[in-house]
Symmetry: C2
């Protein structure tokens, strides 16, 4: 089978598999999994929702649905997005996708030929980087500071005649992995920079609902809501953090011409997303079960973030290490001195029983590794402190 | 946005959207939808299966799972496939996919660069053709007769030095759209032709369970079961016809090296298939609900096929028209004289209230259009006769 094996294209391995398996290992205090803890999911709602469905709807849940999505879910989603200020008028269209991951993949498929350029943040979401690379895109990462992408560096990259990026990929709200949220000022500067330009903004917003304080809610107002007329914005969202990742449902809200092409690409990708989980997600939205669930998840994550921040203050070396203080979402991003490798820290920490995801997994250029991501969302409250102590000790041993 | 629009790649439209919408139109007697009828789905089993699950399993159903699939489902599937004679030893691996469509898409992604060649049957499955084309493959269709692919023509294509196909795509059991099943003799000839060759056989088997007579069951024995040692076989199956298409679950059983690469491609396609529907599919297999369901579906389809065949005998013109007599599955393939266009027939038939899928949608080379597909699986028994009369009259008006 040698010749046969040779005909398989060379795809790169990724950190995701390792990341998932560490979350499942009971002997490790793992901060690797970017997901809600299992105990919080609305299990009991399923009995009620399924029980209340008419028989013909239950039957339809077993059947193929339109590639664009289950029509009642699209209607419920329109109301939900419209209440968030998003444009759901006739120039825009919704596509239900198999997780936000598929929306990113389909957009890449319709826009990118090998060698095309994409600008991302540094750091950036592993899943998006993997999708971009799988279509042969060349990636350029622009650093974030505490308020968002650094505008001067983005401006330079956008005006670079060789770069000419087709897509600008941003996760402005409770960033994965950086944990930050864009300031109002930074968003305004960004909108003014992008206005009239042809680069397509891919605004990825899986965590926007997860603000810890009501005061920060206004920060989650999307770029698409305010700047939709000024430049093309493809807005991607997910049910993973507002219902459950296992439903594998996300959405794309974008100009009609973009969504029509993505729908064609989806036909040959998986025909349609699960009607069964779409019926349940529609019930979840339509019967108003989302607000109490997100309220519970916000409180749960806020509490865990607080415990983790306190543990970092207590155990981390007093100099040379910094970390972000999240106002929402799942993540804290830790930066070490440049001569310390996150891989070395991880290898020591795993032996002592704790784990995280190393920085270069989030680097579009796969170079920088003096940073790492801590997810607090999945780890039981009473284990966070010991896990952080293990990691802090590992860093101290390398300083 | 002109420049922005121009940067979207030119994807081809397809018949699938039109096909789905015609199935949903209550004013049309539609033979377009290749799916079980809604009334047959195991709706009541859901209450029982969900009710019997432990709380921690229900919670896990909301969560991400491994990209390779929900481990208990992989185990149940191994038993199921092993009972069908398929090799599930250490040289082979299973990947759970978001429908069989995704398995075909991922295989194309890992094997095909633009310009690479794929051999298919003529006619062939629309979804596979769309996936192949979306990666820039050049397709060559080899005609089927009543016993399978025509060996002499396949042999010629395989030895063509320019063609050098990377994949041979076949649907040997209750073919979509041709409705035939390969004879034992034809499979043996095929196996002998492919032995020692490096072309990868993609054996697509969504309908194998749907034999109308127990006597024909032995015909559904897969090529992978008998010839796995002789050449590489990627075997694809689906829960669509043995549980429900709305679950969006299929699988790939293939050499480890192939599945590992497909798993990598799946990570950035949709991370994992729905854990929720995988948990249900596993219960469906593990609690032995599949045999009574497939028995019911077989009887249901056999009855509808019989009604349709009788109507064809009664209403079709006595000369110049031929059709296949299926021993299982969902489809009958009708061939008209070469000067009759299926599109013309369809346009007349739709006005009178019936519809089908035109032949050139199934032609890898998109030329031949004197054929069409009738799906009997979805149409109510009492409407089949009137629908066939409408289509027969439309043909008569063109002869």
């Amino acid at each position: 089978m040698t010749e046969f094996s040779n005909s398989i294209k060379n795809l790169r391995s990724s950190e995701i598999r390792r990341l998932m398996s560490l979350s499942a290992d009971p002997t490790i205090i793992s901060f690797t999994g970017g997901m809600p803890c299992n105990e919080i999911f609305p299990v009991d709602d399923i009995d009620e929702m399924w029980g209340n469905l008419a028989r013909n709807v239950k039957q339809a849940a077993f059947q193929y649905g339109p590639t664009s999505g289950y029509p009642p879910l699209i209607e419920s989603l329109k109301k939900y997005l419209s209440a968030k200020g998003l444009p759901v008028d006739n120039s825009q269209k919704i596509l239900i996708t198999t997780g936000a991951q598929q929306a990113i993949n389909l957009l890449t498929k319709i826009f990118i030929d090998p060698g095309d350029r994409i600008i991302t943040e540094y750091p950036s979401f592993i899943g998006a980087l993997a999708a971009f690379k799988s279509y042969g895109a060349i990636l350029k990462g622009i650093p974030l500071d505490g308020e968002g992408i650094i505008i001067e560096e983005l401006e330079k990259a956008l005006s670079d005649k060789w770069l000419k990026p087709k897509i600008l990929y941003l996760t402005p709200y409770f960033h994965n992995p950086a944990g930050i949220i864009y300031s109002k000022k930074r968003k305004d500067e960004l909108i003014s920079l992008l206005s009239g330009k042809d680069v397509c903004l891919l605004e990825d917003d899986p965590y926007g609902e997860l603000y810890f304080s009501e005061n920060d809610r206004e920060l989650t107002r999307t770029i698409k809501s305010t700047a939709n007329e000024k430049f093309p914005v493809c807005y991607v969202g997910s049910f993973a953090k507002i219902f459950g990742p296992g439903m594998r449902l996300g959405w794309l809200l974008a100009p009609v011409e973009v969504v029509d092409k993505c729908e064609l690409a989806k036909q040959s990708a998986d025909a349609c997303s699960s009607t069964f989980t779409q019926v349940l997600a529609n019930e979840f939205l339509a019967t108003n079960k989302l607000p109490p669930f997100t309220a519970k998840l916000r409180a749960n994550c806020a509490k865990r973030a607080e415990i983790m921040l306190k543990a970092l203050e207590t155990y981390m070396p007093s100099k040379g290490i910094s970390w972000t203080r999240p106002k929402g979402g799942f993540y804290i991003w830790v930066t070490m001195p440049e001569n310390i490798s996150a891989t070395d820290v991880l290898n020591i920490a795993i032996k002592k029983g704790s784990a995280f995801v190393i920085g270069n997994a989030f680097d579009p250029e796969e170079k920088r590794n003096n940073c790492f991501r801590l997810a607090f969302s999945f780890t039981p409250e009473d284990k966070i402190e010991s896990g952080i102590k293990i990691i802090s000790d590992a860093i101290k041993s390398l300083l």
